[in-house]
Symmetry: C2
Subunit: 189 residues, 2 copies
DNA sequence: GCTTATCATGACCGGACGGTCAACTAAAAA
DNA sequence: TTTTTAGTTGACCGTCCGGTCATGATAAGC
């Protein structure tokens, strides 16, 4: 019943772009609506608050990242080569955002985590779950490679991965992520 | 000539606390002044803008971090054990901030970098220089341990270090940083 | 003690912020 | 076709934002 609309979808897409590029605080509700072609009144028909939108944004980014990790870690290569492909693909992604925006946007989860996890518990938990998910995928990969202490090493790999993206953003040098690939190869054996 | 004052100092200290705990956007000029016991008019006597203050805050944090790295990497231990001490000390620091604030504050540089380096070039450069400084220290340490590819490995270690702190903040689990210590030992050899 | 440069004060600015609401429109279900 | 319900609109709210400025207080240098 009632009319249908893709406004909610447009709002989420708009918020994904703005929050990824400028962070949560920088992305104003007004600005998000403007880019989505939606009036602010409609925004609050779909979302109870800005932080509720952020939750939806994180969920949507996870769809992207899950597909990304599916491709990066696909079983068409030996485990350690998949790991290298993960870093190479992440580097390529950040190189692309640098070409388009002039600066490296970084990881949407890492960015929101450092900005929000101190004062929004719901967002913090959603972000933590995202990192845990990647950790589990990497842990399975390391187990497949018959490496000991897979869980702990996977945690370190996630740290290295997020840290490399953060440094790439800070130096505005996406190639930094690429330099991690051979080191990971060497370290993980 | 003219009167003297420690108001500028109080402002910087106040801003360090608030920006570390809540980030740049969350720390309002008003709130910073309130905690410093200074009226807002005085603030703009000492600082041209909020982002000028942030620059001073970063510089002041570097004094702290330089001392921190001096102690962590001091030559009273073999190189690799100094590296372990770095992670142990960082973990202890985040454990302390968690006890005091209820949540892990994370790295002041990493937090500001992910929030600001996309839209404030001066801050970005100050933050990048900070990471480069740590990288150089670690590179020298690795060279002292006669390890090849010291510069590249140092870059990876900085990534791992910052990433671990970011994950510790996201999971609100400072112990995560401690778990990196043995893995670094194993990886770096 | 007078001058002078520094610091302090508090009112004020325009605008942006997140959020609200009652009235209205339109499409799906009956 | 009528009802029902979801979606749309734009004006509006109070608050806080970073930033300004004229005026007044105070201590250092002479």
């Amino acid at each position: 019943m009632g009319r249908t609309s893709d406004a909610k979808e447009r709002i989420v897409r708009s918020a994904m772009e703005l929050m990824h590029a400028g962070g949560y605080a920088q992305a104003g509700v007004q600005e998000i609506c403007l880019r989505a072609g939606v009036r602010k009144g409609s925004f609050y028909h779909f979302f109870a608050s800005k932080s509720a939108l952020a939750l939806a944004v994180i969920a949507r980014f996870r769809l992207f990242s899950d597909q990304f990790f599916d491709r990066a870690l696909a079983s068409d290569l030996p485990p350690l080569q998949r790991l290298e492909r993960l870093f190479q693909m992440a580097a390529a992604l950040q190189e692309e955002t640098q070409r388009e925006n002039g600066f490296v946007k970084g990881c949407p989860f890492g960015n929101l985590a450092s900005e929000m996890s101190g004062h929004d518990e719901a967002l913090r938990l959603a972000l933590a779950a995202t990192f845990t998910s990647l950790q589990h995928r990497l842990s399975e990969l390391l187990q497949e490679a018959a490496l000991p202490h897979a869980e702990e090493k996977a945690e370190a790999l996630v740290s290295l991965f997020e840290g490399a993206i953060l440094l790439a953003k800070t130096h505005n040098d996406p190639h930094l992520i690429r330099r991690m690939a051979p080191i990971v190869q060497q370290w993980i054996r």
